[in-house]
Amino acid sequence: MTAPAAPMTRPTTALPDSRPPVRRRRQPDLYSTLSRVLIALIVIVQVYPLAWLFITSLRTEHDFATGDPFALPTSLTWENYARAFETGNLGMNILNSFIVTMGANFLIVLLGMMAAYALQVLGFRFSKFVRGLFLIGIIVPVQIALVPLFIDYSTINLLDTYPSMIIPLAGFALPMSIYLFSSFFEYIPRETYEAASLDGAGPYRIFGLITLPLSVNTVVTVVLVNSIFIWNDFIFANTFVLSEGLKTIPLGLQNYIGAMGKTDWTATFAAVCVTITPLLLVFLVLNKAMIQGLESGATKG
């Protein structure tokens, strides 16, 4: 049986190796040259503005106001960064963003995992209905919650606190997290649970000793993906936070506009560079995990 199969598979496996060179010789492949040029152009459009942002943050004010925007700066200066730190509260803004991101991520991961466990592993009669309920949160725009939450917060004195930002950020991110955990829990074989059950483990011990430790990778994915959106959240922070001491990065950056009558653009750009650095570093170091997470988040959800 195996002997005749072997020679039959060989030509097909050899085919991909031999084909490309033949095709390349026949035509100087205009298509691939064109597509490479196009890709390069699009990448420039995506990346150049960010590079320009950084270059501008190193320009002198005079150079910025008079020069050609594409030209390299005539001299480099770190003065803009000094002014950026003097004008604003960058350190505090970064700390606040960090607290909000951590708090929301904690809720998203823990509660997302719990809900997925109840829906996927424990199972119950109305689980379809509950799943549908969570689907609403994916479709509905966040703006619907602004007015009601503002009113509710002011009645219970929660306006202008960390929880006022954390609650809606976590609430609206929860459905996606539940879907990611659910689809991961599907892969844990039922026998694992049944064996543990026979050994007398109840649902709580199974959650703590089996499900939780196995989910580390999914936790990383969920945290990375959500961190991008929470770290950069503008709308909830702008609506619920008033005092300087609680402002997150997006709000802190806004202070630079017109703070002194006329906007100090080079210092503003320096501040932008400082505030995007933490997330950018995380992204560049962990971009494989992040990219994977974004892909799976969308294709499964």
């Binding site: 925007p69 809606p168 459905p175 950069n232 653009w265």
Partner: protein
């Protein structure tokens, strides 16, 4: 279902997430619906007005309709840039042999940056005094006649505030579509190529039908995100000049927090939700009809 589970354990795991979700999402939705039948400025007593807010919105509010059509324009530009750009780059990327990972990373870079930073950046790109990147570029390629202050020209401002949102998330959608394109079976493409299919036929007959489910998800994502777009127009122009870049979301926000007309703002918010649901329904309906045909 676990054999040893009790009804109590299900509740223990389910209640905390439902509580948070209820407080943050479900209850506010009900509350908005409720408030939309009232007239209330947050201080005086609430006054029940029935459908008056809805009547005012649909028949007597020009700004509302202006914002609605602006929002559709904004959505169209975002969709073209995000889905079109994503599909184009993803397809090109599959034919490349090296550097795919690098390009994916670079392409995704703008998605990591906050909308406030992006708004600042684009204000300078569009500016005319001192001359920004866009105007300088137009000058160089001989289209100097098109130079203008993009954000204060009522004919260009809507496009100018939509483009950054499109630019920001193209990379995200590209990733998703690229992952789907990679899953197209190689044997299928190979067989079609041997039968003499052109690149275009390969794309329309084999690849695109194969990624259809992902394409639908992506379209729905991009549409709902486009309809809730807020940050960049709000930060760059705050709806101006006049109402030429006002979206439903920015109009609702200003109605709520500048005019403190909570009742009417809730009416607009309800409309935005309905609009999102209708859009998702329409996409599913159209695609289903296409699939049946």
């Amino acid at each position: 279902m676990l054999p040893n589970r009790s009804r109590l354990s299900v509740l223990v795991f389910l209640l905390p997430p439902l509580l948070l979700y209820g407080i943050a999402v479900l209850f506010p939705i009900m509350q908005s619906l409720f408030l939309s039948f009232f007239s209330w400025n947050g201080i005086s007593d609430m006054e029940f007005v029935g459908l008056a807010n809805y009547v005012r919105m649909l028949t007597a509010d020009d700004i509302f309709w202006r914002s609605f059509f602006n929002a559709l324009g904004y959505l169209a530009i975002c969709l073209v840039l995000q889905l079109g750009g994503a599909l184009l780059v993803a397809s090109l990327l599959t034919s490349m042999r090296r550097g795919r990972e690098l390009i994916k990373t670079l392409y995704l870079l703008p998605a990591v940056i906050s909308t406030v930073a992006i708004a600042f950046l684009f204000v300078r790109i569009y500016s005319i005094e001192p001359v920004g990147l866009l105007n300088q570029l137009l000058h160089w390629i001989g289209l100097g006649a098109l130079e203008r202050p993009w954000l204060s020209d009522i004919n260009t401002v809507l496009a100018a505030v939509s483009a950054p949102e499109g630019w920001r998330f193209t990379g995200l959608y590209m990733l998703i579509i690229y992952a789907a394109l990679l899953s197209v079976p190689k044997e299928l493409e190979e067989a079609a190529r041997l039968d003499g299919a052109s690149r275009w036929q390969l794309f329309t007959k084999i690849r695109f039908p194969h990624i259809m489910p992902v394409w639908i998800t992506t379209t729905i994502m991009a549409t709902t995100y486009g309809l809730r777009g807020f940050d960049i127009p709000y930060l760059m122009t705050n709806g101006g000049p006049g109402q030429s870049s006002e979206l439903l979301t920015t109009y609702m926000y200003k109605t709520a927090f500048t005019s403190t007309d909570f009742g009417y703002a809730s009416t607009i918010a309800v409309f935005i939700v309905v609009e999102c649901l209708v859009a998702v329904g329409l996409i599913l309906f159209m695609l289903k009809r296409k699939a049946d045909a």
